[in-house]
């Protein structure tokens, strides 16, 4: 009597207790031995199947830090360069105004202005404590700055360029 398919499969799967009887039969039966050999070849072929390679890296999702240190894009580099150039030009334009402004500062006048602010602050505190408000109590002191508008416009320009440039540079992070 020949071995069944089940016996051969279980033998190769190491799932039988009849190993010795099966081995003994295989030594004497050519037909069963041939069937066994075919099945063994199938096992070898299945085991020899090579691994395929992935087309994408599945680990990226778990490596956020790797994403952050990615190579900057060309667009990113251009924006940085443009922002730096515009800020430099704006600063060069502002320098003469800053120089004029510095010349216009009178140190004696600054001390006087500081004293005026302090006096005004005391007046306001008195007014608040007594609830007696005089119209003169809220007059702003005169600051020792002449022709300040040009300087302020220049500085505001630089500030806007800086904010706008950073907004462009950080747009990807903001979207996340």
């Amino acid at each position: 009597m020949h071995l069944t398919d089940e016996q051969l499969n279980e033998y190769l799967d190491h799932e039988t207790n009849e190993r010795e009887q099966i081995e003994l039969h295989l030594k004497t039966c050519h037909e069963c031995s041939a069937r066994f050999s075919d099945l063994q070849n199938l096992f070898l072929e299945l085991d020899s199947l090579p691994d395929l390679q992935l087309t994408r890296d599945l680990s990226k999702r778990f490596n956020p830090s790797r994403e952050l240190i990615r190579v900057p894009t060309r667009w990113f580099n251009l924006t940085v360069f443009a922002q730096a150039t515009i800020a430099l030009v704006a600063l060069i334009i502002a320098i003469p105004f800053i120089a004029i402004y510095l010349q216009q500062i009178d140190t004696t006048m600054l001390v006087t202005s500081f004293a005026e602010v302090q006096t005004l602050w005391n007046t306001w505190l008195d007014a608040l404590s007594t609830f007696e408000f005089e119209s003169t109590a809220f007059e702003l002191p005169t600051l020792p700055i002449v022709e300040m508008s040009s300087l302020l416009i220049s500085l505001a320009g630089i500030f806007v360029v800086w904010i706008f440039g950073n907004g462009i540079l950080l747009r990807n992070q903001i979207r996340r």
Partner: protein, 179 residues
């Protein structure tokens, strides 16, 4: 400096270092993808489900027994994910056959089919999905009959019949005179 072991990386991942888990994924992604590909025989689905496998494993990492071998465990998770996917997509045998027929090799593909490994893949793909799963678990994950029965929640007799029939079909396809 020695590379950290899977165990070290898992401990770090459990402490919240996602980069450590990323390293684990890098190590095991090919084997997990191949589990999925052998079962599904569709590259896109296999890659998606391999990703899904790692996501699920990450969620369950807290309960993972650190003494177990991660590679064997994640491949088993992958087989289960694919099994659930196939269950959710269960179609009639006729549709399965239709899909296989749609994949009849074009002239250019016939050149590739001459390679033995491709023939084996095609033969595996032609198996019914439940047979494919059992072959995957027995041959590539080296699970015992009892483990497969437990994993798939089917009787031991079904495991044996699926496996032996699958091998018969594979042998017929691969060892046919023109095969």
């Amino acid at each position: 400096m020695n590379a950290p072991t899977d165990r070290d990386l898992i401990l770090r991942a459990k402490r919240g270092e996602s980069e450590a888990y990323g390293e684990i994924v890098t190590r095991h992604q090919t084997s997990v993808f191949n589990v999925c590909y052998r079962i599904l025989h569709n590259r896109n689905d296999a890659e998606d489900l391999a990703q899904e496998t790692f996501m699920r494993a990450y969620d369950k990492l807290e309960t993972f027994d650190i003494e177990r071998e991660f590679g064997a465990w994640i491949r088993r998770v992958a087989a289960n994910v694919c099994f659930n996917f196939l269950e959710s997509q269960k179609t009639s045998l006729a549709l399965d056959e239709e899909r296989d027929q749609d994949k009849s090799p074009s002239p250019s593909q016939q050149v590739e089919v001459k390679e033995r490994s491709e023939q084996i893949r095609q033969a595996l793909a032609s198996l019914p999905s439940n047979y494919r799963l059992v072959v995957e678990m027995r041959h590539y994950q080296e699970m015992s009959y009892d483990e497969i029965a437990h994993e798939l929640k089917i009787p031991l007799s079904d495991v044996k019949s699926h496996l032996f029939r699958a091998r018969k079909i594979l042998a017929e396809k691969l060892h046919a005179p023109n095969g």
